[in-house]
């Protein structure tokens, strides 16, 4: 299987502070790769670099065998990014927001309509899509944003804590949706603090701490290696 995203020796410093001290991992086609690690480990920084928002200090990062730094416009066409803390334009109606975002990706009006309809179905917001985003609850906004990230069926969806702020049922729902899109061909790079979520969602996991990848593998591999019952124990034992 070929790689969608390949990261080698990636470093990132904010001034003197090294947020990433050289990390390696890859996201293979058709898989969900999850980064787990404590607060400040460098997850968001990694995802932002992959989403062409930040530039790396050193190292290589390729998307579909193309240099991500050199061809950000190519990458932006094919990925979608759900930021950790994101919002939508408050004065827009939910539907108008989806239409606006679809306007950047669709090749024609027909495709745009298809994107918007797909997103509307994901949000399950129904008539509320006709009201302004400013009136939505946190979870409703999150679902709207997730829907817009998936509606274009991107080659790679980069999701920073996709279910943060969602209730149990909505979180379950979102996980199902992500899995469905993976089946249809989208690869996913995500970060999460929810070990349950990661066990359910991810094909492979990268354990990250202080800007370094400590371990990579499938949840089962990691559990076996650390002689742990679940990922939470793996997390604790590898951070020690």
């Amino acid at each position: 299987m070929s790689n969608v995203l390949t990261v080698r020796g990636l470093k990132k410093s904010y001034g003197a502070h090294a947020a990433l001290a050289g990390i390696d991992f890859e996201v293979r086609a058709g898989e969900v790769f999850a980064l787990i690690g404590p607060n400040g480990a460098g997850k968001t920084t990694t995802l932002r670099i992959a989403a062409t928002l930040l530039t790396s200090t050193a190292g290589e990062i390729t998307f579909l065998d193309r240099d991500l730094r050199k061809e950000p416009d190519f990458v932006r066409e094919k990925i979608s990014y759900l930021p950790e803390e994101a919002g939508a334009y408050k004065d827009m109606k939910g539907m108008d927001y989806l239409r606006f975002m679809a306007g950047f990706y669709g090749r024609d009006a027909g495709e745009e309509k298809e994107f918007v309809e797909r997103a509307a179905a994901i949000t399950e917001l129904g008539n509320r899509l006709k009201t302004k985003v400013g009136t939505y609850s946190k979870g409703m906004t999150r679902k709207l944003l997730l829907a817009r990230a998936l509606m274009t069926r991107p080659v790679l969806a980069i999701l920073d804590e996709p279910t943060s702020g969602l209730d149990v049922l909505n979180a379950l729902d979102v996980r199902e949706i992500i899995r469905r899109y993976v089946k249809e061909g989208t690869s996913v790079l995500l970060s999460s603090h929810n070990m349950l979520e990661i066990e359910f969602l991810s094909d492979r996991v990268g354990l990250i701490d202080k800007g370094r990848i400590l371990d990579t593998g499938t949840p089962d591999e990691l559990k076996a290696k650390h002689a742990a019952k679940n990922l939470e124990e793996v997390f604790r034992s590898s951070l020690r």
Binding site: A51, T55, R76, I79, G87, A88
Partner: protein
């Protein structure tokens, strides 16, 4: 192009809020109403006014005075026969703006060529300038009478001599020279009219700069505050397109709102009405300026327009950068202050000083501010300093290009997400 249009549409929609439309409409209505009211007041003041007259003299001289007032379109209420206090009280109770008392002996002392006194009592029921107009007109009637009387006197005492030249033995004919043209007229009048004309440039410029900059700053700051910037930056659209769409939208909406405000302001000023005398002076001044070549031809207007346009572009680019630096909407509002000062400085300097007579460091400072140049354009066109104009335009273009390149660089590096500047309040340190 489709993506750019998509973004531009959103930017314009975002800026044209209900509040903006309402405040624009409100301003237009308000200014218009004020204009209408003051127009009526001016008409009232210019129209026939009522004054009361107490003629205690009843001589030929006093009758001549009253006749003069009548021909100056005053409606005269005769209080003759009453005592002074009584006349005052009755005039005050009525509509009269003023009571004129001609004391007994007025005619006699006139005939004897002694100084003759009259008294005026103005009833100030309000303190507006228009309210005091009655007295001004009475004064001018009196001075016209003075002129006639003294002419008559001189003619009687010195027959054969021209009283006018007797009173003003030295006469000056005033000429104004501008470049190679000479015309008869007063330099003061020209300076007054020019400064009145160039007043308009800074007002227009300031309005547009303030509106557009505020809009472009908030366009960026709102993206940050609503946490939509990160998403927008991963969307397949060029960073320069994002910048241009925002600048274009802000420039457009700013220009339109400034236009609406100017229109409202004109209604307000227009309502004040121009006095017939002032209009006359203006007409003769305009003729004089035409003779001196102090008018704009099409090229002149084009140059001025280009200069204003460049100034707006510079302001927008600066605002863009300030907006990127601002953390949220509120600090963005504070960011606009330095920009406004930059427009104010050349304005005040142009009011009080002559750029050519400033000391060299101050002059360099003033010329370094891009917004100074539109102020200097009209002067330079009149004086034929085309080199200066070209240098000013070139300088503004250069500043604009540098700023846009800088803005685009910020937008395509980490800086847009990591750069932060705070004005005013310091954030409480994070726990």
């Amino acid at each position: 192009m489709k993506r750019f249009k998509n973004l531009l549409q959103k930017e314009v929609k975002e800026l044209v809020t209900k509040q903006l439309v309402i405040s624009l409409a409100f301003t237009v209505l308000l200014f218009n109403a004020i204009g209408q009211i003051s127009k009526k007041e001016v008409q009232k003041a210019v129209g026939i006014q009522t004054i009361s007259v107490l003629d205690q003299d009843g001589s030929e001289g006093s009758r001549a005075l009253l006749k003069g007032l009548e021909s100056a379109r005053f409606k005269i209420v005769d209080q003759t026969g009453k005592g002074k206090d009584e006349a005052l009280a009755s005039a005050k109770a009525g509509e009269s703006k003023l009571l004129l008392v001609v004391p007994a002996g007025f005619g006699d002392s006139l005939a004897e060529l002694k100084p003759s006194e009259i008294e005026t009592y103005s009833f100030m029921r309000s303190f507006s300038l228009i309210g005091a107009r009655g007295q001004v007109v009475v004064q001018s009637v009196i001075s016209a009478l003075n002129e006639t009387l003294s002419n008559n006197f001189l003619a009687a005492k010195l027959p054969g001599a021209d009283p006018v030249s007797l009173k003003r033995p030295i006469k000056s004919r005033d000429f104004v020279v501008v470049r190679d043209r000479t015309a008869e007229g007063s330099a003061g009048l020209i300076a007054g009219m020019l400064s009145q004309q160039s007043m308009l440039i800074p007002i227009v410029l300031m309005m547009i700069v303030i509106y557009s900059s505020q809009m472009v700053i908030s366009a960026v700051a709102m993206e940050k505050q609503n946490k939509t910037l990160e998403t927008l930056l991963t969307v397949p659209i060029k960073r320069t397109s994002i910048i241009t769409a925002k600048m274009f939208a802000a420039g457009l909406v700013g220009l339109i709102s400034a236009g609406v405000y100017m229109f409202a302001f004109k209604g307000f000023i227009g309502g004040m009405g121009e006095e017939v005398a002032a209009a006359g002076a203006r007409a003769s001044g305009t003729a004089l300026m035409q003779k001196l070549g102090l008018t704009f031809d099409t090229t002149g207007y084009l140059i001025l327009g280009l200069s204003l346009f460049l100034a707006i572009l510079v302001a927008l680019a600066m605002a863009m950068i300030l907006g990127v630096l601002a953390e949220d909407f509120r600090s963005a509002q504070n960011m606009i202050m330095p920009l406004m000062f930059m427009v104010m400085i050349p304005y005040f300097i142009s009011l009080f000083a002559d750029i050519d007579t400033l000391s060299l460091p101050v002059k360099i400072l003033v010329l370094a501010i891009p917004f100074s140049h539109p102020f200097l354009v009209s002067q330079n066109i009149y004086l034929g300093h085309y080199g200066m104009i070209a240098a000013g335009l070139g300088y503004m273009l250069l500043v604009f290009i540098v700023l846009v390149i800088y803005a685009a660089r910020i937008f395509s590096t980490d800086k847009i997400l990591t750069m932060k500047l705070r004005f005013g309040k310091k954030k409480a340190p994070a726990a």
